[in-house]
Subunit: 284 residues, 2 copies
């Protein structure tokens, strides 16, 4: 997905929101906005928006001297999500279609996104409850169900911290013998890293690898060779979140995207309103 | 009101929206966004946002070679508003408090704003109907009522084309012997100019002057000397719309602002939610 005109005000809006979220002082906030304006002018518009996200958040880490400015927020999100895990597990166990419920919970977790201000509530408990009544394209879910059954090994690309706890019921359904979980190579916004996966209990249950980058997406041109080999070799790839969708939607290997539609551009592309629960098969 | 961080993404958003509204081609749209980024970097943040609006819309007029790119939209808005005028007049005549109803209609007309995308409906008929049930600070309305009665001459600063038709019942209530109506000096977004006032029937009934600028607000530093003299000499100034509020809110002469709250910044300043009908006395 190429950067388009609508992405530019969104970059600036995200920078302003980040300045507030991280309590930057007035000078730092102004400097961040000015640098974001400069980056917007210099950027290559033919690449997907998460590459700009990477640059902005690198800048924030440089400015604040903090290698992981979202750490406290990530720890809180992890704790909250873990406190809901028993409830999620019993919702799945008690469901007439446990797989479908696990898929919906995984998508619902995608509300925990500090990179996009959608005005949507990021109340994690509400997200969990909404998931249970959300509608998802049934045909796509059935196709996903079959694809998981047929695959010998699956690569699961995670998105945000906290969200990865919501992925647990689905990952358990797939099974630790079959799935490898991928996280970001280093901190970027609140995206999950190896440390966050450890804190969420994923590393105890699953094989976890990193993609080797600090891009809030999966941009293969910059991922580690090791990751790219795993990506290409896997029977099936499951991709969580809009950032991974934006960076992989032109990829031609078979994969499924699970995400919430978060902006007008992706809404236009998918034909679904902002807030929709998406299961999308690629190539479609 | 100084430009603040939140204004920057809004400038970009408005530029993107304008590119779409005016059907600019891809090259023109990209150039507009790039120039808006540059202007945002160069701008003096100590001045109010409408000065940036002026620069962006000057650029659009240069790029398109069109001195009044919103002309067709302005004519449509005028015609629609004029078609509702008889209904407005009978609502005022049939009201238990005709002055209050005229004030509410005038504020309601402020939805006709092509400069701000609030997501709010700009359905003119709906605006008129909403006005009749809207709530306004009663104390401020009573203070405005007395101020109008006591004033010998009143300067009324208009905002947008179409909106000025919604001002007519209030202007008639004040009376043509008492009120002078001010419009922008030349086209900027859909703000009302002398030509728009003529097309709306205002020049037949009232003395109309211009402020001599193409700023979508009233920035006295750049207004004509003649306008500034009228502004200073008037017993009372009534100011319509957020652009006039943003450029005059620090002014120390007695005036009343009538507007809809259109953004988070002004919402914070006024303590009222976006969409509120405001009658605000200055100095407060």
């Amino acid at each position: 997905l190429k950067t388009n005109l609508d992405c530019i005000p969104c970059f600036l809006r995200q920078a302003v929101m980040t300045a507030k979220d991280l309590n930057l002082n007035e000078d730092q906030a102004q400097a961040l906005i000015r640098r974001t304006l400069e980056l917007s002018l210099q950027m290559d518009w033919s690449v997907p928006p998460p590459l700009m996200g990477r640059d902005v958040h690198r800048l924030i880490r440089e400015m604040t001297g903090d290698k992981d400015p979202y750490l406290a927020k990530k720890i809180t999100a992890t704790e909250r999500a873990l406190s809901l895990l028993p409830e999620m597990e019993s919702a799945v166990a008690g469901s007439s279609d446990p797989f479908l419920t696990a898929v919906k919970l995984s998508i619902a977790g995608n509300v925990i996104d500090l990179g996009v201000a959608t005005g949507a509530s990021t109340d994690i408990k509400k997200a969990m409850q909404d998931a249970l009544t959300a509608t998802v394209n049934q045909q796509a879910v059935d196709s996903l169900r079959r694809a998981i059954q047929d695959a010998g090994d699956i690569l699961f690309l995670t998105d945000n911290t906290g969200e990865i706890v919501f992925d647990l019921p689905l990952l358990e359904h797939i099974g630790s013998d079959k799935v490898t979980v991928a996280v970001r190579g280093s901190p970027t916004i609140n995206d999950a890293t190896m440390e966050d996966a450890r804190r969420s209990g994923l590393t105890d249950r699953f094989r976890v690898i990193t993609n080797g980058t600090d891009i809030p997406g999966t941009w293969l041109d910059e991922c580690s060779d090791e990751f790219v080999r795993e990506f290409e070799a896997a029977d099936l790839v499951l991709s969580k979140g809009q950032g991974n969708f934006e960076t992989l939607n032109d990829n031609e290997r078979r994969l499924f995207f699970l995400f919430l539609v978060k902006c007008a551009t992706v809404s236009r592309m998918t034909g679904e309103p902002v807030g929709s629960f998406m299961v999308l098969e690629n190539p479609s």
